[in-house]
Assembly symmetry: C2
Homo-oligomer: 219 residues x 2
């Protein structure tokens, strides 16, 4: 293959991913995917047995794409683990703003449109969510004692996803980022409370166990 020429399979996947994100699964015709990717039916049906198979491919594609395309940019820009959570939310916000409050989350959209009818797709959507939340969970683990001892990091990470998806949905319906911003603000307030509680736990611990000093650990 000549350099710079995208392999057929990936070209279809990328095009389909974009179109599913823009229009949804059912509203996207195979003919449109072919036109946008500049390919013929036979090429697509050589790579994917059906439109449903293509959907599965797209969801596997998204699973692979998540860390490099979504998580890594945030980690590059923001070092603080809790700061990263809100930087991630800010990144989705920026995307929505660019697109005029349209489209939202590509996985979330498919979740509500196809999860009930395509068992394999449902499973992959679930894994996309778990993958996303798992990476946020790593950040929350890294936050260490800045979060309360009894705070379930995995659960809190899923909650971040909950707030993001719910916020994006309402922002899209409103045609305005207000509902998203307000949801994130409530989440921020929740995190503030958690961090404050953890601060209390640290000074209590410092008094009885280790030497006194700054509540924060080593930089």
């Amino acid at each position: 293959m000549a350099p710079g020429v995208e392999p057929t399979r990936e070209r279809i996947l990328r095009t389909a991913f974009e179109l599913f994100h823009e229009q949804g699964y059912h509203a996207t015709a195979v003919a449109t995917i072919l036109r946008e990717s500049g390919l013929n039916p036979g090429s697509m049906y050589h790579a994917f047995g059906s439109k449903d198979d293509l959907l599965i491919g797209v969801l596997e594609f998204a699973l692979v794409l998540c860390r490099p395309a979504v998580i890594a940019p945030v980690e590059a820009r923001e070092a603080d683990p809790i700061g990263r959570v809100f930087a991630l939310l800010g990144q989705y916000r920026a995307g929505m703003e660019l697109r005029g409050c349209r489209m939202g989350c590509p996985i979330g959209n498919l979740a509500l449109e196809v999860a009930d009818d395509h068992p394999r797709a449902r499973e992959l959507i679930h894994r996309n969510f778990e993958n996303w939340a798992g990476m946020v969970g790593e950040w929350l683990e890294a936050a260490g004692d800045r979060l309360p001892r009894d705070c379930d990091r995995v659960r809190l990470a899923r909650f971040v996803l909950t707030v993001m998806e719910g916020g994006l949905m309402q922002a899209r319906a409103a045609g305005d980022l207000g509902p998203f911003d307000e949801s994130v603000a409530e989440l921020r307030r929740y995190f503030d409370v958690l961090e404050e509680k953890a601060r209390g736990e640290r000074v209590g611990k410092a008094g009885t166990k280790t030497r006194g000093g700054a509540p924060r650990g080593p930089g």
Copy 2:
């Protein structure tokens, strides 16, 4: 019209509402709506100019249905204003459980499927959300000084919707109510914190004078 015979228009609306909820908008064929409602194309196109018009009708229908079908049962069962919030979430949970973690919220589904392409539908979905959150907001207002003074009731009501929609989405993807329950548990914890803070404000107010700024009048 004979008693007990449902008017054509309402029969179509109810059938379409159910099918849109079960299968989504694009996946539901007009022919299916006609079959399920036992009507002919001409009857439907006499009442609604197009499938898109029917979608609008369904969203107006849902707007009217919200208080009697969703809010009223909760208010009948639970008297405590904050208890009502979680009773409402419990009601959606029960629905999801009955349906084997399928379908989710009928409005939320349409929000992600059609909001971008149907401006009038987007507006009505937005009004459905605002209506729902407005009623939850009334409960939060009624909670009076059980919530902190600086707690924006309207914003918190939208946050409840955010958590519900995000939780339903993940529960559907997981095929399990776990993610919904965990999201609601985090919200419960948030409410606990807010209520505790409000308790602190109440004893502070009863004892010493509050800090600067215009003190609020009696709730």
